[in-house]
C-alpha cells in the first residue's frame, strides 16, 4: 500500500584484516535507525565476498569501513568487481581513517563519498538518500 514498497538496503562491510569495527557498527546502527535494512557481514571480508553478498542481498548501497590504511587497494577492488558483475548501479561509500589526499583518487575509482572521523552519521544518511541509483 502506501509505504510498503522499497526500503533502502545497505551492506555494511569490513574489508581486509582490519579489526577496528566500532565505526562500522556505529554506522550500521545509524542507518538502521534511519529506517534502512542493514546487512552486517562482520570482520575480515575479502572484496570478492563483499561483492557476492551485495549481489545476493540486492543492496542499494555498499558501505565499507577501513581504519588500517589499506583503503587505496581494497575500496577500488570492490568497485571494480561490482562493475565486472554488472552491478555498478550500487552506490559505494567508505569511511574510517582515510587521509584527505587519498579521497580524490578513491572518488575517481567509483567511491561516491568518504566519511572520516568527526562527520556526523546524519550526513551519511542524507548522502545515501540523495544519491542511491534506482
Amino acid at each position: 500500500m502506501m509505504d510498503e514498497g522499497r526500503k533502502i538496503r545497505v551492506l555494511v562491510a569490513k574489508p581486509g584484516l582490519d579489526g577496528h569495527d566500532r565505526g562500522a557498527k556505529v554506522v550500521a546502527r545509524a542507518l538502521r535507525d534511519a529506517g534502512m535494512e542493514v546487512i552486517y557481514t562482520g570482520l575480515r571480508q575479502t572484496p570478492e565476498q563483499i561483492v557476492a553478498a551485495a549481489i545476493q542481498e540486492d543492496v542499494d548501497v555498499v558501505a565499507m569501513s577501513i581504519l588500517s590504511g589499506a583503503h587505496n587497494y581494497l575500496f577500488p577492488r570492490v568497485t571494480q568487481l561490482l562493475r565486472e558483475r554488472g552491478a555498478d548501479d550500487v552506490l559505494v561509500v567508505g569511511g574510517g581513517i582515510i587521509p584527505d589526499e587519498d579521497i580524490p583518487g578513491l572518488q575517481e575509482c567509483g567511491i561516491a563519498a568518504v566519511f572520516t572521523p568527526g562527520t556526523s552519521t546524519g550526513d551519511t544518511v542524507k548522502f545515501i538518500r540523495e544519491n542511491i541509483k534506482r
Binding site: E4, E37, I39, A53, E57
Partner: protein, 340 residues
C-alpha cells in the same frame, strides 16, 4: 532487463537475476503478480526446512553448518534468514549472514536476509514468496531461519516441509519447550550447545513432553547415544510404523558436531512424508494458508484503497467510538458494503 528476462535467467539460477526477482517479490514491485505467475509452475521441488528456536540458540550457526553438510553431498541450498524490523523506525539490522559468510563465494549456496517489515509472526509477509523464488530457481533445499520470537513456530509450520526446533540448555527454569503448541510442530528437535551443562535435562524435558503428546516412540536408548545411527533407526522405525517420531538430536553447531545427523533426520522426515502421502497434505495446508492470506490482503487493500469504503469505515468508527453501535455490527456493515 525486463521481467521476462529476469525470470528466465533466475530459473537457470543466475545469481543476480534470482536476487532481483526476490526484491520484486519482497517489495511487491510493479508487475510482481505476473512474475509470480511465471515462476509458480516451477516450484514444489525443493525440500523446505524451517529452523526455529529462541534468539541466541545458535540457529544461524546451525544453518551455516547444515548448508555446508548438504553442499558436501553435492546438493544446492537457498537460505532465507529473517530478522526483526524495528516497529518504530522501519529499519532493521540483519546479522544472520555474519555466520554464513564462508558460503558467499559458493555458487551452490544463495543467502538472503529479510526484515519482518511489520509482519507480526516470526517471518515476513513475503517469506513464502521468497522461498518460492529459490525453489523455482532450482535449489535442492531451502532453509528458513525464523526470528525466533512471537508466533514464529506457528508460521514456520505452515510454510516448511520439515521444522527443526532448536533448544539450548541454560535458558532458565521455565520449561521452554512446553510452550503451548510448540511440541506439535517440531519434526526434528535439536538441542544445541551440547558443550554446555544441562543438556541432558533439556533432552529429558523434550522427551517427556513428546511422550505426553504421544509422539515419542522412546525405544531408542539414552539420549546421549543419539547419533547418526539413532536418527536413521528412528527414521526407519517411523516409516515402518507409518508415523513420524521426532528424533531429539544434540549438536554443537559451532564445531559442526551432530549436524550431519540433523541433515539425516530432515531427509528421513521428507522420505517419511512422501511414503505416508503426508507431503501432499502439508503442501495443501501451505497453499490454503497462503491463499487465504492473499485473499484477505486483497480484500483489505480494496477496503483501504477505495475512498467510498474508507469514508464509510470512518463514519462507522465514529459511531462505534460514540457507543452508538458495537464494533461487530460496524464490521458487518462494512463487509456488506465491500461485498455488494
Amino acid at each position: 532487463m525486463d521481467w521476462q528476462e529476469i525470470v528466465s535467467r533466475a530459473l537457470s539460477r543466475e545469481v543476480r537475476a534470482v536476487s532481483r526477482l526476490i526484491s520484486i517479490v519482497e517489495d511487491r514491485r510493479a508487475g510482481f503478480e505476473d512474475v509470480y505467475a511465471a515462476i509458480y509452475p516451477r516450484t514444489g521441488r525443493a525440500h523446505v526446512i524451517g529452523i526455529t528456536g529462541p534468539p541466541g540458540s545458535g540457529k544461524s550457526t546451525l544453518v551455516d553448518k547444515i548448508a555446508a553438510e548438504y553442499r558436501s553431498r553435492g546438493k544446492t541450498v537457498g537460505i532465507v534468514a529473517v530478522d526483526p524490523t524495528s516497529p518504530f523506525t522501519g529499519g532493521a539490522l540483519l546479522g544472520d549472514r555474519l555466520r554464513m559468510q564462508r558460503h558467499s563465494l559458493d555458487n551452490g549456496v544463495f543467502i538472503r536476509s529479510m526484515g519482518t517489515r511489520g509482519h507480526l509472526g516470526g517471518l515476513s509477509r513475503a517469506t513464502s514468496g521468497v522461498v518460492d523464488v529459490l525453489d523455482a530457481a532450482g535449489y535442492d533445499y531451502v532453509v528458513i531461519e525464523t526470528v525466533g520470537v512471537g508466533q514464529s513456530e506457528v508460521e514456520i509450520a505452515s510454510l516448511a516441509d520439515t521444522v527443526a526446533l532448536v533448544q539450548v540448555p541454560g535458558l532458565g527454569d521455565d520449561i521452554q519447550v512446553i510452550k503451548a503448541g510448540v511440541m506439535e510442530i517440531g519434526d526434528v528437535f535439536v538441542v544445541n550447545k551440547k558443550d554446555r551443562p544441562g543438556v541432558e535435562r533439556v533432552v529429558a524435558e523434550i522427551r517427556m513432553s513428546l511422550d505426553l503428546a504421544g509422539k515419542y516412540s522412546g525405544h531408542h536408548g539414552p539420549a546421549t547415544a543419539m547419533a547418526a545411527a539413532t536418527a536413521t533407526a528412528t527414521a526407519t522405525a517411523a516409516i515402518a510404523a507409518n508415523a513420524w517420531h521426532p528424533p531429539i538430536l544434540q549438536t554443537m553447531a559451532e564445531s559442526g558436531e551432530g549436524v550431519a545427523e540433523v541433515c539425516e533426520a530432515c531427509d528421513a522426515h521428507m522420505r517419511c512424508l512422501v511414503t505416508d502421502n503426508a507431503l501432499v497434505e502439508r503442501r495443501f495446508r501451505r497453499a490454503r494458508s497462503e491463499t487465504m492470506k492473499i485473499a484477505s490482503d486483497l480484500i483489505w487493500r480494496g477496503l483501504a484503497d477505495d475512498a467510498r469504503t474508507l469514508g464509510a469505515a470512518e463514519g462507522l468508527a465514529w459511531k462505534v467510538a460514540r457507543r452508538e453501535i458495537d464494533p461487530y455490527a460496524a464490521g458487518r456493515d462494512l463487509r456488506e458494503l465491500v461485498v455488494s
